[in-house]
């Protein structure tokens, strides 16, 4: 049906099943640039805030109003700021930071607000890690979720497109409804426990929980650096006998990069199953459906009851490092020891 629609409408930019997840593919193809106003038919469209774009998910009615008219109504959101400082400890990632924020401030902290992530920590992390933050920000209710507008963004986008763009920075005296200060210097890996993203515990309180499945992928954490982090932990190791580890690269580009660099080989040799790129097991789209009573550690962004299969299953959210370490040990495991 979608292929017929594309042909009938003469749409030039169509990315079929082989390409991967929208929130990875669009940036890779150079569609997301600073200063843009973007809507998408997927809630995690906030991801493009990492590229300094005002970007949000909408429902189908608004989506096709925009499609026909090229414009849309917006209620101007209040802005809030998370100022993040300190050096992330070894094998603690931006995923742990955003889960920590969910736990400390609840999943409603940013309802219909525009987030700006600022501070030295944000400046020092990769674009991929910033995408994780902007992606997960939707789970906090965010309308938009901007990363740091800096040269790193410019360099990344210029590699993907020749179209002109200009960074948009806030005025020094811009008004924010709230500013939250977060020091990550001593941050433990964080886990969103069943069945809400803001049911957060430090890993020391959850470690030892036996798992049946480990899922590494999704628009939150299915990028090359995520697979690379897992491969470092799983290098010359064997995944626990009682665990199926499913790795789903976020895009064809990530998939190929992992294949060429040897990361795929490392993961396969450790016992992981690598699927074609896409959303995969994140919402039960492809493989990895959980049975009653099963437990999964997942690098995705939602752990709602029944999302990955049985309503009697449990999903725990963590970083790619935590997923890999847990797959190795057969139980939720602190990755800082690897």
């Amino acid at each position: 049906m979608i292929r017929n629609f594309v042909k009938k409408q003469g749409i030039k930019n169509f990315y079929d099943i082989r390409e991967g997840i929208c929130h990875q593919v669009l940036p890779e193809k150079g569609h997301t640039r600073p200063g843009m106003l973007i809507i998408g038919g997927d809630s995690h469209t906030t991801t493009y805030g990492a590229f300094n774009a005002a970007s949000c998910g909408v429902g189908n009615t608004d989506l096709f109003y925009g499609y026909v008219k090229g414009e849309l109504w917006f209620r101007v959101p209040e802005s809030i700021k998370f100022n993040i400082t300190g050096k992330l400890p070894y094998n603690v990632t931006s995923k742990d930071v955003i889960i920590k924020i969910a736990g400390d401030y609840t999943a409603e902290v940013a309802t219909y607000k525009s987030i700006e992530f600022t501070g030295e920590t944000m400046e020092n992390i990769s674009i991929a890690s910033r995408m994780t933050m902007s992606n997960f920000a939707l789970e906090l209710g965010a309308k938009f979720a901007f990363g740091v507008p800096d040269q790193r963004v410019v360099d990344w986008v210029k590699m993907r497109t020749n179209k002109p763009f200009e960074l948009v920075k806030p005025d020094p005296d811009a008004i924010y409804a709230e500013t939250y200060e977060i020091d990550v210097s001593n941050l433990e890996p964080q886990i969103s426990c069943p069945h809400t993203v803001d049911n957060v515990k430090p890993i020391s309180e959850v470690a030892g929980t036996k798992i049946n499945q480990a899922f590494l992928g999704s628009c939150t954490n299915g990028r090359y650096e995520d697979l690379e982090m897992a491969a470092k932990i799983l290098q010359e190791q064997t995944i626990h006998d009682d665990v199926r580890m499913i790795v789903t690269p976020a895009s064809k580009e990530v998939w190929l990069q992992a294949a060429k660099s040897g990361i795929s080989e490392t993961l396969i040799n450790a016992g992981a199953i690598i699927t074609n790129p896409g959303c995969g097991a994140c919402f039960g789209a492809l493989g990895g459906l959980l049975g009653p009573g099963e437990k999964c550690i997942s690098s995705a962004n939602r752990n709602f009851q029944g999302r990955m299969g049985s309503a009697a299953a449990e999903v725990y959210l963590g970083s790619p490092a935590t997923v890999a370490a847990s797959a190795l040990k057969g139980k939720i495991t602190d990755p800082r020891g690897f």
Binding site: M1, I2, R3, F5, V6, I11, N13, F14, Y15, D16, I17, E19, G20, I21, C22, V25, L26, H31, T32, M36, L37, I38, I39, G40, G41, D42, N52, A53, A54, L63, G66, Y67, G70, E71, L72, W73, F74, R75, V76, P77, E78, S79, S114, E116, K143, F144, F146, P149, V168, K169, P170, D171, P172, D173, A174, I175, Y176, A177, C279, A285
Partner: protein, 47 residues
């Protein structure tokens, strides 16, 4: 024009009314890009 956050600046540059606004106001804004997907197929209108 008052001082603005990133969101306010981008919305201001796309606003079709041309008047200043504050948080809570409703505006119409020109879109740069629309993404739709069905399953794993993605349609992108890059205006």
């Amino acid at each position: 024009m008052s001082s603005k956050t990133i969101a306010e600046k981008i919305l201001a540059s796309h606003s079709l009314s041309g008047t200043d606004f504050k948080p809570g106001d409703i505006i119409n804004a020109k879109l740069d890009l629309i993404m739709s997907h069905i399953g794993t197929g993605k349609v992108v209108l890059d205006f």
